[in-house]
Point group: C2
Chain length 354, copies 2
């Protein structure tokens, strides 16, 4: 049994971009499971943009009462362990249906060891797919892409879809599902390597570099029939470039605004509310914020259909794995600088299935 | 047979609020119906806020290809007859199923006489309801309220709905349907007379005066459980007062922005896009622009259900009738100053059913 539990706690609420001193590594006793509980060792920790919101004092997402699956969205207290999705291995079980050696998906956060309830965990099986995918293409980011695109975006053949962060955990899946549905897919990503990945590996029709000063005109040229679906996950200047291209009856699922998360003052406000509202009105545009938890009743369908797409190679994915819990703060900071291609994960302890 | 046809044409594109000199009354020959056509005499002309958009050079609404019912939404050419919904009496029929003396709903615009196709008109019957209601509670404004509220607003019992222009053609119906569906209904209207009408006649729970400098705090006090549905028909400062009160999973049907239509520069922009997008994201808000024509397949259901509500007294309405085509420009200007209570109509020729 391990001697102590490394945890990364919130040391200070960031002003703007998070920095090393906003985090602190502490060592605490390894917790002991009570009756019906599990002692788990974290293998993979998921680093996602939404976690930036939990570092602020204000609540960053609406948490529906019926689930605590997004308890992480509330603010983390100073001194408390940073939250986050995890895949863990069960070391000790005091619950009936879970055995040591099982792998579970949970919200253990940034730490080596954690306690999980034995009756409400989701187990993953290495024979089905690599266990890390339960945090990416087959987990929260994949389900965000799947539910937002299918329920709100409602893609139909020949339509044009635009998605930014095209090589990221959500954007990469959005674009690939849209291709499966027969859409023309335009990605936006940071730099030539990501753009090449989106086109050559993921099969996007076009991918534009968000750093290009001519982004707006390049996007217009890439969308000769306008834009029917804009899957919004970045906000700011990309939103402003896409907005004028929206067609009548366009759909805009809003799952994230990563360009804004570190902003001390809001970024990119050349347009105002009245202009946007006028377009919403005159083009019958549907703009809808959502979390995957809004569609929790579709989780089985998602796992089945996405599982098939991934195993058949119709949906491809890439993971950016950083080793060592102590490197989580630095990796997290890199997420906002676009340093990762694909799903960003921290391997907290060795993956015994590899 | 009449000798000439009075028409009001667009003399100039308004800068800001329309004024008398933007319109001109002309006399032209009475048109003659061809085979399959009808010669019609206008009885009622509907004056609606959307017409302001048609006076600009740019298209003001998305016209779906499958219908020309909203051809009026495109810009009116200088010198062309102002568009608008009408109830007319058939004077001469060269079509099979329509006879002289029948009443039809159409888009004859601001003129005494017009030609209508005999095979695509909707007839109205005075024994069912006053023929004027085909332009109000049983017509486009009523269907705007009905389809937007039920399809996008999706009211459920105990929810709170806010609607502005509460005594107007759309707002008055929105609030009453919401009451039928069990909602708490907060109206906003201009002045004590309209507010009293909304509460005492229409049955709203509360109606606030939009001129009150304390509107935002009064609204907050009137909505102790937040706002679940904001039926947006005005924009500007009312939008800004309602926005912070929206609950998670709020729905915002957007059917109009009357506060903006005369604006040379956009009005009321204390909030910016980033703030609004953040709330859309974190509260899973659904904001959707629409026209009643987006739900044309529900027209029969609307006529049946709303007809029952009106005849049973569950939905009440008021009409503000101005006599004389020559008074249409002045009445239209008054629409933006809130001079009417209820549906604004011009009685172009005497109503033979009264």
């Amino acid at each position: 049994m391990p001697e102590f539990n490394r945890q990364i706690v919130l040391a200070a609420r960031p002003k703007g971009a998070p920095k090393n001193s906003d985090f602190r590594l502490v060592e605490t006793p390894v917790p002991e499971p009570g009756v019906g509980e599990l002692l788990c060792q974290t293998i993979y920790l998921s680093l996602d943009p939404y976690l930036r919101g939990s570092m602020n004092a204000a609540k960053s997402y609406a948490a529906p009462a019926e689930t605590d699956a997004i308890a992480y969205a509330g603010p983390v207290e100073i001194g408390a362990v940073m939250g986050g999705g995890t895949v863990s291995r069960v070391l000790e079980s005091r619950a009936d249906r879970i055995a040591p050696g099982d792998f579970i998906v949970g919200l253990a956060g940034w730490q080596d060891y954690s306690i999980a309830p034995g009756d409400a965990v989701h187990t993953v099986h290495p024979q089905d797919a690599p266990i890390s995918t339960a945090l990416g293409v087959l987990g929260m980011p994949g389900m965000t892409a799947y539910t937002g695109l299918l329920n709100i975006g409602k893609p139909t053949p020949e339509e044009t879809l635009v998605v930014a962060a095209a090589s990221g955990a959500v954007g990469s899946v959005v674009g690939q599902i849209a291709k499966i549905k027969g859409c023309r897919v335009i990605g936006i990503a940071g730099g030539p390597e990501k753009c090449a990945f989106a086109v050559e590996v993921l099969g996007f029709d076009v991918c534009l570099d968000r750093h290009d000063p001519e982004l707006a005109s390049l996007l217009e040229a890439a969308c000769p029939d306008g834009v029917d679906i804009y899957f919004e996950n970045v906000g700011g200047s990309v939103f402003e470039a896409v907005w004028p291209l929206l067609n009548p009856f366009a759909r805009v699922p809003v799952c994230g605004l990563i360009s804004q998360y570190n902003a001390v003052t809001p970024q990119g406000a050349a347009m105002g509310i009245p202009e946007v509202m006028r377009e919403i009105l005159t083009k019958s545009i549907n703009l809808r914020g959502f979390m995957y938890t809004d569609f929790l009743d579709q989780v089985d369908e998602f796992r089945r259909e996405m599982g098939n797409w991934v195993s058949s190679g119709l949906v491809r994915y890439r993971e950016h794995v950083v080793d060592g819990l102590e490197n989580a703060p630095r990796a997290f900071q890199g997420l906002f600088k676009g340093e990762n291609i694909g799903k960003l994960l921290v391997r907290v302890s060795p993956d015994p299935t590899l």
